[in-house]
Every structure is written in structure tokens, then in C-alpha cells.
Assembly symmetry: D3
Homo-oligomer: 211 residues x 6
């Protein structure tokens, strides 16, 4: 649907000349990009749980998520090349940072071939594969529940800094987290968490106030 919409915008471009059509198309692309980038801007971790086909815009979407799970029947396809364009709303930008095997990234992007669940696991696109959709969803929800039981200051600060590290040198990232944590370390959540740990209690029994 995503790609079809985009195609229709392109097939009926608006503007008096090539420059003006280009300007218009750039606006559209930027707006589409933003719809995926908001996932990164959300400071809470986002888990993608994939079953069946994850194609084109689907790959744009899940590469903007923090953790990827899939069911055994899932497959992944960077489809854009087959509709005549370079993927421009996230896949070519994020996939090479999401998995470490660039020969594979390139192959997928140039051929639009399907990658099945096992290869997705082996290459690190997903961190776990489950026998079917139900088991996967249970696991994803359990994972979400576990993460949400922890200090929101710790969890959200972790997301902000992991994303910062992806795009910066180690020295830059260390400098940034020092300026970030000089305030975040002054949270009651540390006292509460350390106390729970010392008393061998589960974090689920601790109440952290909302962030």
C-alpha cells in the first residue's frame, strides 16, 4: 500500500517544471521518512514482532524499531528495486547499521530476494525466531512487560544513548552520556533499584514514578 501510494504520487506529480516537481517530491519523501523516524524519537523501546511477509515499507518500519522478533513463517524483502527506485524512507539508511553483514545487506537491496526467518536470525536482523505468531506475540509482550517493570529513567536514557552511539564516534558518545547522566543519576530510581537488588526482590514489586 505504502509503495503504491508513493508510486501514485510520482505518476501524477505536481509542479510546473522538473525543479518544482522535485521540490514537491522532496517534501513527500521527507514526510514519509518522518513517519518512521518518530519511532526512534519515542524514548520508549519499540519491539517489532513480524509474521508473514515484511516487504518494502515493512522493512523501513522494523529497522526503525529497537528490537525485532519474528515467527518461523516470516520473510523479509527490500522490494524497492523491483519498482524502479532506491529505498528512501529508511531501509538503505538503517539496515546497514542494524546488521553487521554488508555483503548480505547489499545482496538483499540489489536483488529484492526474500530472506527467510532463519537467515534473518543468523544475520542478526531479528534476535529471536518463534514457531508461530502466537508464541511470538506472547514473547514480545513478555519482553515489553519486563522492560516496563524497570526504571523508566534507566530504560529511556539507555535508548537515547544507544541511538546517539549508533551515529557518533565512541569519544563523542562518551562525552554525551556524561552530560546526560550528570542529571539522570540524581534519580530516586537508583536507590529503589539498588535496594530491591540488595533485598533480592523483583523490580516488578518496585514502583517507579512516571517519566
Amino acid at each position: 500500500i505504502d509503495l503504491m501510494d508513493l508510486a501514485s504520487d510520482i505518476l501524477q506529480p505536481k509542479g510546473d517544471d522538473v525543479a518544482r516537481i522535485s521540490w514537491y517530491l522532496r517534501d513527500i519523501i521527507t514526510r514519509y521518512q518522518e513517519t518512521f523516524s518518530v519511532i526512534e524519537k519515542c524514548p520508549k523501546p519499540v519491539i517489532a514482532a513480524v509474521h508473514g511477509g515484511c516487504i518494502g515499507g515493512g522493512v523501513d518500519l522494523i529497522t526503525a524499531c529497537d528490537i525485532r522478533y519474528c515467527a518461523q513463517d516470516a520473510f523479509f524483502q527490500v522490494k524497492e528495486v523491483d519498482v524502479g527506485l532506491a529505498a528512501d524512507v529508511g531501509t538503505l539508511q538503517r539496515l546497514p547499521k542494524v546488521i553487521g553483514n554488508h555483503s548480505l545487506v547489499n545482496e538483499l537491496a540489489f536483488t529484492a530476494r526474500k530472506m527467510m526467518a532463519d537467515e534473518a536470525l543468523g544475520s542478526g536482523l531479528v534476535s529471536r525466531v518463534f514457531p508461530d505468531k502466537e508464541v511470538m506475540l506472547d514473547a514480545a509482550l513478555a519482553l515489553a512487560a519486563e522492560i516496563s517493570s524497570k526504571s523508566p529513567v534507566a530504560v529511556q536514557s539507555t535508548k537515547v544513548n544507544l541511538l546517539y552511539s549508533r551515529d557518533h564516534s565512541v569519544a563523542e558518545s562518551l562525552n554525551y552520556v556524561a552530560s546526560w547522566n550528570m542529571s539522570m543519576l540524581q534519580t530516586q530510581d537508583i536507590t529503589k533499584s539498588v535496594q530491591a537488588m540488595t533485598e533480592n526482590k523483583e523490580l516488578k514489586s518496585v514502583t517507579f514514578s512516571k517519566l
Copy 2:
């Protein structure tokens, strides 16, 4: 051969003092680097098909390629440390971006040990291993044929943007592809590709004009 040439340039350096010899050597290194970087500058995907030993300059070469296949008898060796130098024409610069396992990259670069085909596959240096050279070449040529059946606007734009993404942050890369695609989306290849897809035809039956 590569390394032997380089060694001979070094054993008989030209210049009146250390600074002038250094200046001369820098020129040589830069020219050698350029011979590998042209592979990246070529906007068409380049596939490396490796059998037997891929040593020293061979690793410089294949890490500048986009997709790497190998035969079961292939092995890979970052040999430079054994001839007394740090690899300076691509391996130390590209290998850590090509595979995601830095402990392995470091081990290979510090020890010059052979990495066999299976470890190359497991670590992602190659994306497929084949029983022998012939099967591999058939597969590599089939891959090349498949890629070349697709829209050249899509394929070459994909290569340009994948390489850009490797060296930039996600935000920078999204900005770049938006400015790139505002013109590239105005190609007839999209109409042709979408129509072929709609009519369930193979892309091989579509004629894209040369880029």
C-alpha cells in the same frame, strides 16, 4: 605481487631526506588506495567471487566490492602484519564496516591467520559459500544477470545511497537520499516496473534505457 611491489618501492625510496621520502611514499599509498576505491565509485554493483587464497591486496580488493561469494576452498588472510606494516590501502578501513564482529576483525589483522570459507560465511565476510569454483561462478553470473535486469536508476541509486549510509549518520543519510530521489523518482522506470509487477511479468521482459 602487490605487496612485493610496494615493498620494493619502500626498499628503494626516493627523496633527499625522511620528509621527502615520506612525501613520495604518501603519493604511492594514495595511488594504490585509488585503484581500489574506483570500485566503490563505479555506480554499478561489483560482485567478488573468490576461490583459493585471497591474501593481502586480495582482501583490500574484495572489501571494496559490494557482494562477496566464495568457493569452499577459499581462505582469507590479512597478511600485511607479517611483512611489517599496517594494511593501508583498504582492509583496515573497510573490513570493520563490512563485517560486524570486531573481535574477529582485530584477531585477523593482528595475527595474519587464515580464515576458511565457513568462518567467512559465519562472520558475514561472504554472503554465500559454494562447493566449487564453477558452481560459484555460475551463481555469481546469475546474480549479476538478475541485478542487471532491473532498473539501472534503481540499482545504481541504491549503491550510491548504501555507500553514503555506511559513512554517515541516519539523519544525514535520510537527508541525502531525499535530495537524491527528488529527481530519480521522476523516471519512467517506475512506471515500467510497477506495470510489469501489476501484470505479473518478469523484469527481464522490460526494457530500461541506458543510464
Copy 3:
């Protein structure tokens, strides 16, 4: 111990108001960061050999090392989220550059779950797993001995440039190594190493002067 110390510094912060406490905490964080970054600044390769639990500060430590080996009983835990904070002395900054599977990195950082030796190998956090501590230590020492038998100019230049490449684009890194090697190629170690290779002798029999 590390984390407990840090926690105690935080529980009894020094300073008259939030800004002053923050300033003080930033100093502490920066000093802690530096204790790990010196490993990178040491131009000789550093090998981490892990058995048993490698938790919190342990992960900060080993991600600053160049090569990671572990015993079968090893496990790894990014524990900080469970004590209410974002890891700020190296793990969030280096782990995403050390292994290529970001879904896994995120999962480990958000959940603080244990990663066992096999998953550490599969994901590339370690490059080899050994049956027990003794075998691992023998292998690590043998690796260290082998690396130290090679030209120190070659080995240490390799480390400097691998770390530079991690944090820079390919073009920047090629430029840097050309300026680096224009002097380093003027070492007798190359003549010695090439001669040993030509005569089929082991590098261990060659004497390289200290760097």
C-alpha cells in the same frame, strides 16, 4: 564493586544545588570512562579472556579490549538498567560497534538478561569459546605470544588505524593511514619481515627493536 561504588557516590552526592551536584557527577563519570579508555589508548593489542560472570563494569571493560575470548562457563550481562541507570562508562558506546546485531544489543541493554557463551560467539562478542578457563588462558597467552613475535611497528600501527576506522568514514580513514604510513613504511621491520618470509623462517626468529 564498580557499580556499588558509583551508587554510593550518587547516594551521597556533593554540591550545594542540583547544578553543582551534576558538575561533580560529570567529573566522576568522566574519570570512570577514562579508566576504560586507556585500554584503547594503549597502542598494544589487549586480549580479554573471560570466565564466569562478566557483569556491568565487566562489559564496559571487555568492549574496550581488542580481542575477546571466553570459556564455556562465561556469561555476559549489561546490568546497569537493573540498578536504575543507563550504562555510561563504555558499554552503550562501544557494544554497538563491537557486534553487528543491534536488535540483540538493544535487547541486552533493555533487559539486563544473561547472554551465555554460545550466543556471545554467535553474535561475535567473542571470537572463540573454550571448554574451560585453563584452555582459554593457554590460547589467549599463545595468541599474545604470537602477536608479540611480529613487528611492533606493524602491530601497533594496525591497532591505531583499526580504532581510527571504527570512528571515521572510509575516506577519512584512508587519508589518515596514508599520513601515518608515510613514515611507518620507512622501518627496517619490513626488510626483516620480507626477508624472513622469503627465507621461509618464522617471525619468532627475527629480532625487532623496541618501539
Copy 4:
């Protein structure tokens, strides 16, 4: 008013502990920053015409503009240091890129002293000084009229690329403008502009369609 508002937000911070108050304040700062950054995101040139005092938030505002004019009675004051804070919504970030005299920038920021119109002209903060407000406004409106008589493709592409150049290396900026202009050069505005020039006509007599 700006600073008073901010101060009141700070004097009555919201949140259960320091970390949560910090999170809340970061949101406020980011929103304030955005109110100035939209000026840069507007692709049309923005002209600041200053008379009387331009203080604190005023300096944040004008440094986000493209061209600065002022009347003889204007003065400029980076006031934040006097209310106990580092300027965080643009001045410290943009002023050093707007004028080339860093000793002066630092002096202004550390002392909060007034800079009068002549020094503003000499240092390049403004590009012209006018005897009074009316003359200045006439000149600013004339400037706006002149710019708006030109091709919007040319003018707005110029702004986008000037801002890109401010924040990137020359090589990066050349690469970017090449990808930008490969579409923008396909505008009818060039034909129209060249023709007007050839025929010695004013651009005001040419009609460019809206962008």
C-alpha cells in the same frame, strides 16, 4: 519576556525527582529551540531588521535569520549569563558561525555587555547600519522585494545549500549541492533568467511560477 517565562518554568519545575525535572526541562528547551530553528527550515531568506535593544532571546532570534540590518540606535546583548544560565536556544550555537571574531563572541557571552551598532557592523553581526528605523525598514523591504523578484528555485536552493555548507566540510557540501542541483538545474527559470539577461531586461519583468 522570553527569559522571564523560562525562569518561571525553572523556578517551578515539574517532576518527582531531579531526573524527572531534567527530562521536563529538556523538553522545554527543545521546544524553545525549535521556535527559532523554524526560521532556518523556512527555505525563503529571512531578514532581521533591528532597532533599539536586541537582548537575550532577541539575539537567539536574529542569529537564526539569514541577513541582519540594524538602525544606529540598536544594541545587542547576550544577556543570559546575567540571569545565571548559558544561552541554550541558539546564541551560543549560532553566533560563532555568524561572525568570525571569536574573541569578541566570547567576551559578549561572558560579560553580557552591550554591543552598539558600529561594533556590530565592524564585527559582521549586521551587514548594514542605517541612521534610523524608517530608513532601515525601507532598505530591508527593498532588499526583500529584490530577492523575491528572482527565481524562487535559485533563491531557495541557495539558502538550503548555504545552511548545509555552514555545518559540513567543503567536500561534503560539494557532493550535496551536486545531488541537489541535478534536478534544480532542470528548471525553466534558468531559460527565463538567461533570456532576460541577454535582452538586458530586469528580472522584475519576468514571471517565475510559484515553488
Copy 5:
């Protein structure tokens, strides 16, 4: 001439559709850019001596030079906006790094107005103004003679590092020059230069071998 050529390339573009014309135009722009960037790649300082009109491509040219002198009759014009395009072969990329007054840079680029010699001196576009062309040429040649009397290792290393500093942070630039100078300091030119200074002799009497 430059701009007219470019215009003619644009008025008769080659390619079957917008994407292909764009690809072709990008090639042209990149080639034009390269004709100016070679001035920077030349390690010897390049002096621009301007009299009369320096318009469009002329500004692209002189901003790629290292030192700019002009005669009293010189004027400078960023003319591109008047022919309907954003300057894409150097002016928008280098001018903001060449002079520190961004309000003025923007005004010049948006209006295409002439800047006379005195304003060019005041803003720092040129470092000296001379009464006429002859006096200027004498001064420029004297400057060239003086620079060429000095150690070529010192002069050319200075150019390389000044350009590096323009495009990098101070920390990056310090790191780079340290790796650069570790060989360049091993030049006989230092001994020769220091000796000449000690003996109070002119550098012109010292013979430095060619670089």
C-alpha cells in the same frame, strides 16, 4: 563564459527521462567542481590577484585559492542567482569558510549585488587592496617569491594542514598534524632554517632540495 557553457548544457540536456538527465547533469557539475578543487589539492599555495570584475565562476575560482589580493577597481559578484540557479561549483560551499561575516555572504548570494574592493577588504575576502593592477601584480609576485624562498616541507605541510583544519574539529586537526609531522619534522630543512636564523642570514640564501 563558464556560466553560459553550463547554461547551454542545461538547455540541451541529454537523457531519456528526468532521472537520466539528472544523472548526466550531476556528472557535469562534479567535473566542473573538480576543476576548482584541484587548486586546493595542489600542495603549493595559490595566490589570486583580481582586477576588474570577478563574477560567478570567478568567485568559485578565487575562493578555492589560498590568498586573495585585489586592485582598487576590482568588484565581486555571486551572479548565479540572477541566472536562475544556486552556485554549485564552490562559492556557496567555500565563501562562508573564507570570510567570517555570514550576513554579508548571504546578502551577496541572494542579491547578486556587486561588492567593491573596500568592502572585500573590510570583510576579509581579500587580505590587501592595491591602487592598480600593476602594483598588485608586483606585490603578488613578491609574495610568491617570498613563500617560495622558504622550506617546501614547511610551506606545503602548512597548506595541507590549514585545509584539514578548515573542515575538521580542533581535536581531529591536532591528531592529524601529529601524524603528519612525525615524519615531516625529520627534514634537513629545519636544521638549515634554524642555522640561517641563528646566523641571521636570509632564507633566500639557503638551498632547500625539491619536494
Copy 6:
């Protein structure tokens, strides 16, 4: 003295071959660089007050300071080129960021000519010139006294962020200051400063606790 020392280190280099001497020299350069960079790392503003000759290492020193004043008899000389080397401990790295006139920076660095006080003021190397040393010192001390009367949280946060902005894009710098100020805004200094302002009292009468 500085340069003479350096020269003597170079004239009697330590190490068995060129590579080892280079390694040794790099260590020396880095240590020298650090002696100037500590001025930047000091979070308190540093004022340079120059009379008489400021030559070679003197320019390295003052460009690392925040504010530069000079007496009428001061002159400035980037002397390194005359002793056969490229300035490598700060001048070539910081001077182009300290003043906005790059033609002048290049001329000074290539010719080693003296720049007198008036040209230093006109180009922005110094922000004020005084008739003699005594008047200048009085003014520098008055400036220091005035700055030290203000909130140390405001002053030192300003220095940290001005230096950050020098080396980063505007977007990066805005992000950084938001993370910095989310804690620093929680200082009592704001309440104290605002109150003093409201009551029309001098900041000198306010007591800020030490940072």
C-alpha cells in the same frame, strides 16, 4: 624557547629507524599539544593579554585562550614556517576558527610576517587594543573581575558550550546544550541572579557558591 627546544628534540632524535623516531616525535608533539589544550579544558574563561612580540608558541598559546586583548606595541608572528616546519601545536588548528579572514590566516602562516596590533584588531584576533601594557592589564583584570562576579554555573556552562559549538554543527550543538542545561537550569544561581536583576542590584553583591 619553545621552538628551540622542539628543534633540539628533532636534531637529536631517539629511535633505531625512521618509524621509531617518528613514533617518538609523535609522542613529543602530542605532549606539547596537550600543554595548550589544557587551557580549553579549564572550564573557566582564560584571558590573554599581549604586549610586545607574540611569536610561534605564543600564537599557539593565545589561540587556545578565550579572549584576547593586546597593547599597541604588540605584534603577532606565525613563525614556524621560517624554522622549516608546519605549526603543529595549535596555531594552524585554531587560528582559522578564531578569526574569520582566511586569506589573512593563510598569508600569515605562509610568510611568517609580523601582524601589528591594529591589523590584529581589524581582523578580530584581539577584541581590544590598549595604549600600553599597564592600561591593558588593568582592563584585562577588570574583565576577569567582572566575569568572576557572575554565576559560575552560567559562565562555565557558557565556555563548555561555546567550545562545543566551534567544533560541531548547529543541530549537534543545540542537542548538546539541551542535555547540558537540563541539569544546570536547576541551580539556585538563576533565582539569585533574577532577584538581583529585579531589585536592580549588582551581581557583585550576590554570593554564588563555588562550583
